[in-house]
C-alpha cells in the first residue's frame, strides 16, 4: 500500500484522459445496472413467485371466466391448504392513459394468500368491513397522491353499473412491499361489490389461486384439480405460479432477449474502448517504467503497480456507475407503472463488482506483463 501515492500520481499524469476513461467505465456500469434491472422487469418478477401457490385459469383462455362454484370443490381437494380467487376489473381512472391493474378479490382469503402485501392490521380490518373499500399499493398511491380515506371513482369498461355511473371506492389501506420487487401498483377491492353491482356475468370469477400443503406435491395437486373439472363446461388449466408468470413473460418473447443481446454487445464495446485506452496509458510510459527498473523495482513489483493502477481506475469509474445505477433503481419503475418489478438484485450487484475487477485486471495485464519483461536498455531507447 505504500506505493498508493505513486499509483495515484500515475493516474493523474494525464488528468483528462483518466477522467474520460473513468467516465466511459462509469457509463458502462450504469448501463449494466439498468440492463439487469430491465431483465428482472421483463421477467415479470418470476423469481418472486410463491413456491407453494398454484394458479388456475380457464383452459382455453385466461379471459374466459370460471364458475364461483368451483371454490368449495377446490378447497375440498386433497393437498390444498387454502384457496382464493380474483377477477380482472379493467376500470379507467380519469383517463385511459392512467392505466393500472384492478382486481376484485375476496379480501380476507386474498391477503392470507399473499403475505407479501403488507398493511397495518387496523387498515385490514377497516377494509374487511367496508364493502366498497379498496386497498392499493404504495407506488400506485404515490402516483396519484391518494391517501387513506380518499374516494376514487373508476369508470367500468367491461363491468358496468346499472345506470353506467362510475364505480366509487374508498381507500381503506395502502400496502407496502413485503419483499423486494413486490408489485405495489395494484388496486384490490371486494368481489362482493363487483358481483352484486354488475349487470351480467354474475357468480363468475377470473381465476383461482390455490395454496398447496406441500410444494413438492404441486404437480400432483394441479393434475388432480384439472381432472376434477375435466369434461365440464369450463375446463381448467392449473400451473404453479412460477410457471404461470414464466409463460406470461415468455409472451413478451424475443423482445426482451433481443434487447439484452444488443445491450450486452454494446457494453462489451464500451469496455473494449476503455480497456484499450487504459492499456495505451501504460504503454506510453515505457521509458518511465524502465527508469523505475533501473532504480531497483523488481519485475513483480512493476507488474503489481501497473495492475493496481488499472484496477483503481476501473473501480473508481465502475464503482460510481454501479452505485448510480443502484440509486436510480431504488426509485423504482421509470415508466410509471408499466414495469413494476424494476429493481437491481444483489446477485447482479455482485456480478457487477466482479466484472469491474475483471476489467481492471484484463486491461492492465498485457501492458503490465510487457512492463515486467522489459529490458532496461531497450526500453530507455524507445520513444513515445
Amino acid at each position: 500500500m505504500k506505493f498508493f501515492h505513486l499509483v495515484w500520481r500515475g493516474l493523474l499524469r494525464r488528468k483528462l484522459r483518466t477522467l474520460f476513461t473513468a467516465l466511459s467505465i462509469f457509463i458502462a456500469f450504469l448501463l449494466f445496472g439498468a440492463l439487469m434491472a430491465l431483465r428482472v422487469a421483463f421477467g415479470m418478477g418470476v423469481d418472486l413467485a410463491g413456491q407453494d401457490r398454484l394458479v388456475m385459469i380457464q383452459k382455453v383462455s385466461f379471459i374466459q371466466p370460471l364458475p364461483l362454484g368451483y371454490l368449495n370443490r377446490i378447497a375440498a381437494t386433497d393437498g390444498v391448504s387454502a384457496v382464493t380467487h380474483s377477477s380482472w376489473f379493467g376500470g379507467v381512472y380519469q383517463d385511459p392513459k392512467n392505466f393500472f391493474a384492478q382486481f376484485a378479490v375476496d379480501p380476507e382469503s386474498w391477503l392470507a394468500m399473499y403475505p407479501e402485501y403488507v398493511l397495518p392490521d387496523a387498515q385490514k380490518q377497516a377494509w374487511f368491513g367496508n364493502r366498497t373499500g379498496a386497498v392499493v399499493g404504495r407506488a400506485l398511491a404515490d402516483r396519484f397522491g391518494w391517501k387513506v380515506g380518499d374516494r376514487v371513482p373508476l369508470k367500468g369498461t367491461i363491468w358496468r353499473t346499472a345506470d353506467d355511473a362510475p364505480w366509487t371506492f374508498t381507500i381503506d389501506g395502502i400496502y407496502e412491499a413485503g419483499t423486494k420487487g413486490t408489485d405495489t401498483t395494484q388496486f384490490f377491492f371486494h368481489y362482493a361489490y363487483l358481483n352484486e353491482t354488475r349487470t351480467f356475468g354474475k357468480d363468475l370469477t377470473g381465476w383461482y389461486v390455490v395454496r398447496v400443503a406441500d410444494p413438492a406435491q404441486s404437480e400432483d395437486v394441479a393434475a388432480r384439480l384439472d381432472a376434477l373439472f375435466a369434461n365440464s363446461s369450463s375446463e381448467t388449466k392449473t400451473s404453479t405460479e412460477k410457471a404461470f408468470v414464466q409463460a406470461f413473460a415468455k409472451q413478451i418473447g424475443d423482445i426482451g432477449s433481443i434487447l439484452m443481446a444488443i445491450l450486452g454487445a454494446v457494453l462489451f464495446t464500451i469496455l473494449l474502448v476503455a480497456a484499450n485506452t487504459m492499456a495505451q496509458a501504460v504503454r506510453e510510459r515505457t521509458n518511465e517504467l524502465a527508469i523505475m527498473k533501473t532504480l531497483g523495482f523488481g519485475d513483480g513489483q512493476l507488474l503489481g503497480l501497473v495492475l493496481m493502477e488499472s484496477v483503481l481506475l476501473a473501480v473508481l469509474g465502475g464503482g460510481a456507475g454501479l452505485l448510480m445505477a443502484w440509486l436510480i433503481t431504488q426509485r423504482g419503475d421509470p415508466t410509471g407503472g408499466l414495469l413494476p418489478a424494476f429493481f437491481l438484485p444483489t446477485r447482479d450487484l455482485v456480478l457487477g463488482i466482479v466484472l469491474i475487477l475483471a476489467l481492471g485486471i484484463a486491461a492492465g495485464l498485457l501492458p503490465a506483463w510487457q512492463a515486467g519483461r522489459l529490458r532496461i536498455v531497450d526500453a530507455l531507447r524507445r520513444q513515445g
Partner: protein, 395 residues
Amino acid sequence: MQALSQILAITAVNVRSIPQRLASSLVAIVGIAGVVVVFVAVLSIAQGFRAAMTTAGDPRTAIVMRAGTDSELSSILMRENTQLVKDAPGLAQGPDGPVASAELFVIVNHPKRSTNSDANVPLRGVEPGAFAVRPRLKIVEGRKFEPGRNEIIVGRAAAGQFTGLEVGRDVRWGENVWTVVGIFEADGAISESEIWCDAKVLQGAYRRGDSFQSVYVQLEREEGLEAFKAALAADPRLNVMAQRETDYLADQSVVLQTIIRTVGFVIAGLMGIGAVFGAINTMYNAVASRTREIATLRALGFGALSIVSSVMAESAVLALLGGVAGGLLAWGVFDGYRTSTMNFQSFSQVAFAFRVTPTLLVQGLVCALVMGLLGGILPAIRAARMPITTALREL
C-alpha cells in the same frame, strides 16, 4: 478563401494519416458503431411494431364499440345494437346491403413456435361482410371458412409464429376442434396476426349468446366519419362510439411503443455519452501524437481556425465511418427479423418484422456525426491553443 484552402489542406493531411493511428482510430469507430447499432436496432423494433399495427389501414374503415371501452376485448354489443349501427347513414353499400361486419374478438391459448409455451393468440369471429370491409385481405392458400362450421383461416404472420396452423390440420381449444382451411394475407396489416372464424360459431363455442364486441364498417366517404358518429350519438337506443380503425390501432400500440422507445432512447443516449468519451480520448491521442507537426504548421503560418476545423473534421470522418458500419450492421442483422410479442393493451400476440427504414439509418448517421463533433471539440481547442515554442520542443 485562403482560410478555406488551409482547412482543406490540413484536413486532407489528417485524414490521410488516420491509418498511422489505426488502433486508436478503430477504437473510436467501433465505439460509435456500437451506439448506432443499438440506436437503429431498438428503434427498428418500435418502427416494425407500429407498422404492423397501422399499415394497410384504410381511412374509410371505422370501428364501432361500446362507449367507454378502450379495446375490443372489453366491449360488448348485442345483435340489435349491431343492426342499428349497420343501418346508420353514411356507410358504403354493397350488393348485400351496408359494407359492415359485426365481430367477436377473443383470445385462445396456443403454443408459440419460438418458446413452445402457450401464448395469447387472437381469434376473431367475423360476418361475411368482413371481407368486403377489408378488401385487401386475400386467401393465399386453401379457401375461406364455411359459415356454420368449425373452420378457421389463419393470418400469414400467425401461421409463422404459432405451431400447427397449417391448412388441413385440426387444432383443439377446450372442447372445440377446429380445422384450418386457409391462410390469408392482408398487406401486412394487423389481421395477419389473427385467426378468423365464423362469428356465429364462435358465439356458441364461447357461450357469448347473441352478442358481439365490435362492428367494422366501411364509410361511404373518408370524411364521413363525423356525420356517422353524429348519427350514432343521436340514436337513444345506442351507447356506442366510433373511431377510425387506424386511430384505434395507433392507440392500441401506444403502451408498447412507449416502453420500447423509452428504453431505446435512454440506453442509446447513455451509450452515446460513453462513446463520446471514447472519441474524446482518441482525438486527444491523435492531437498529442502530432504535437510537433501541428506546431510546425502553426509556425508556417496556418491559422488556429484551420487547425480546429481539421481536428473536428477528422473526428467527424471517424464518426461517420462508425455510423455507416453500425447502420449497415443493424440493417443486415435486424431488418425483416420476424418475431411476435404481446401487446399489453389487447393482451394478445402481434406478429411483426423489425424495420430498418432509410429514415432510421439517416438518424443513426446524424447521431454518429453529433457524437464525433462533440468528441472533437475539446481536443481541437487544445491543438489550436498549444504554445508553438513548447510544442516544437516536445518529443
